[in-house]
């Protein structure tokens, strides 16, 4: 099992470590629910070094990448970050990624479990460009939560003296990180996977541990957060997780991710003809959100029933710390109406499902700046 450069820090901070995506990662430190509430109400720090950080290089990396991802990269502004899928020829999802269009380079962040698969895929399918894996030398840590901006701002110098508070949502900029006594050159983006305001820092791996500790020292309001609460936070925020909502057998349209699929972009992309067909005839199944009646959470794989007939399957489910009830999302056959009464089979016992619009949680104070 691989370890991130923050493994020693996790042990020092009392993490319970589990395997995730081939890495030994913290699932929680103080406890999942505490960490979840800390991010919703204050701020939490996450190790994201397990994720893949790639660069696309070539004469025209934007045009090359545009042929293998669903998002329209050519229309992204410099400094912009956008969500995208990487699809196979059948329109199934190989991974969901973030694309970072920096002024002088093109970056991707991909899921830990798909790193090798995507390196291979990009290596084979990129024409006139190649992929470079920077995951080892470049570390990635996140500070997420409503206090993230005010806590971080005094310690970040952005290019041209722009304020951290003015960094727009889903924007990235070069930054000097002054958290540890030694200025560290890196990048900062206003992105996250929690449904809260927050930032992700990209710094040399050698400084990761000192930055991680310094973020925790910013205030007593900041605590280290594991992948357990990252999962409940993203589920509440209606964000998909690869291996749950997304797979090579699942199209992004039924997953509710049409916003990340630019069918109209010039030149087409891998999977485009198949996805056009899905849009034309409508996806066979659609992702829906539910509250599970009772106390018992529905887990991935639990069968969704209508009139005792299987009509779908749960992809993610958990007690929701924010809502205080078990929530779930799952795929339901498109032929089943939104109003149809549904139940979920919890290992032989059925529990009623109440439809709930996705996302389950949306933060009230929007921080959508334009820069």
């Amino acid at each position: 099992m691989k370890k991130t450069v923050l493994n020693a820090a996790h042990q020092r901070h009392g993490a319970r470590l589990v395997e995730f995506g081939g890495f030994e990662m913290p699932v929680w430190y103080s406890g999942l629910t505490d960490e979840h509430h800390a991010v919703r109400q204050r701020a939490g720090v996450f190790d994201l070094c397990h994720m893949g950080r790639f660069e696309i290089v070539g004469d025209d990396p934007v045009a090359a990448l545009d042929r293998v991802v669903t998002q329209d990269v050519s229309r992204m502004k410099k400094g912009q970050v956008r969500y995208s899928l990487v699809c196979n020829d059948e329109g199934g999802v190989l991974d969901d990624i973030l694309i970072y269009r920096l002024p002088d380079r093109l970056w991707l962040v991909v899921n830990a479990g798909n790193r090798q698969k995507l390196l291979h895929w990009f290596g084979e399918r990129l024409v006139g460009a190649k992929v470079i894996d920077h995951s080892e030398e470049l570390a990635m840590v996140a500070l997420q939560g409503p206090l993230a901006c005010s806590l971080l701002a005094p310690h970040i110098d952005r290019a041209h003296h722009r304020a951290v508070a003015d960094l727009g949502y889903y924007r990235i900029s070069r930054a000097q990180v002054n958290l540890t006594g030694t200025p560290i050159d890196g990048w900062i983006s206003r992105t996250g996977y929690t449904g809260e305001d927050g930032f992700e820092l990209y710094i040399p791996s050698g400084s990761a541990e000192s930055v991680f500790d310094a973020l925790l020292d910013l205030s007593d309001d900041v605590i280290p957060c594991g992948l357990g609460c990252r999962d409940t936070l993203r589920l509440e925020a209606g964000m998909p997780l690869y291996g749950h909502e997304l797979s090579e057998q699942q199209d992004p349209i039924g997953a509710g991710l049409s916003f990340g699929v630019a069918l109209d972009k010039e030149g087409g992309f891998i999977g485009e003809p198949a996805l056009r067909e899905v849009v034309a005839r409508g996806p066979g199944r659609q992702l829906r959100g539910f509250v599970v009646e009772g106390k018992r959470p529905a887990r991935q794989g639990a069968v969704i029933l209508h009139d005792s007939r299987p009509v779908g399957v749960v992809t993610s489910g958990s007690p929701s710390p924010t809502l205080g009830v078990p929530i779930a999302c799952g795929y339901v056959d498109s032929s089943v109406s939104e109003e149809a009464p549904l139940e979920v089979d919890l290992r032989g016992k059925s529990a009623p499902l109440s439809p709930h619009p996705l996302p389950f949680y949306r933060r009230t104070a929007e921080t959508a700046h334009s820069e």
Partner: protein, 128 residues
């Protein structure tokens, strides 16, 4: 390092059994409680139900996952810890005392003689 009391016996799947005045008290070990983390749900048999050695008799669910509970004894359930149905915190806070799960009247072929003693169970935890 989690606590392994010397006055009871264990299954390798982390359930414990303690004989008290002809009745066997059943619970999960501190190690198991720590591994599970925050608990959200438990399903236990009813009074009068039969439980079978090394066979699932209930389920315990944490925020992250569901786990089966295996019986360290064959016999008839004579008491169920009803307080756990509303809140499972006693299992996390006091797995060997207040967090007991069921009490069982052991059958003649109870399986109790097949349980691990505390040293063997401790060695299993040390080896993992």
């Amino acid at each position: 390092m989690s606590n392994v009391p010397t006055d009871r016996h264990y299954l390798s799947s982390h359930e414990w059994a303690q004989q008290v005045e002809g009745v066997v008290v059943v619970g999960i070990s501190e190690h198991a409680a720590e591994e599970l983390g925050e608990l959200v749900f438990i399903e236990l048999p009813a009074k009068g139900d039969e439980v079978i050695f090394e066979t699932q008799f209930g389920e315990i669910e944490s925020v992250k996952a569901v786990s089966g509970l295996n019986s360290p004894v064959t016999g008839k359930v004579v008491e169920v810890n009803q307080e756990l149905i509303d809140s499972q915190s006693a299992i996390s806070d006091s797995p060997f005392e207040d967090g007991w799960l069921i009490k069982v009247e052991p059958a003649i072929d109870s399986g109790l003689d097949l349980l691990l003693d505390h040293k063997t169970y401790q060695a299993q935890l040390d080896g993992s």
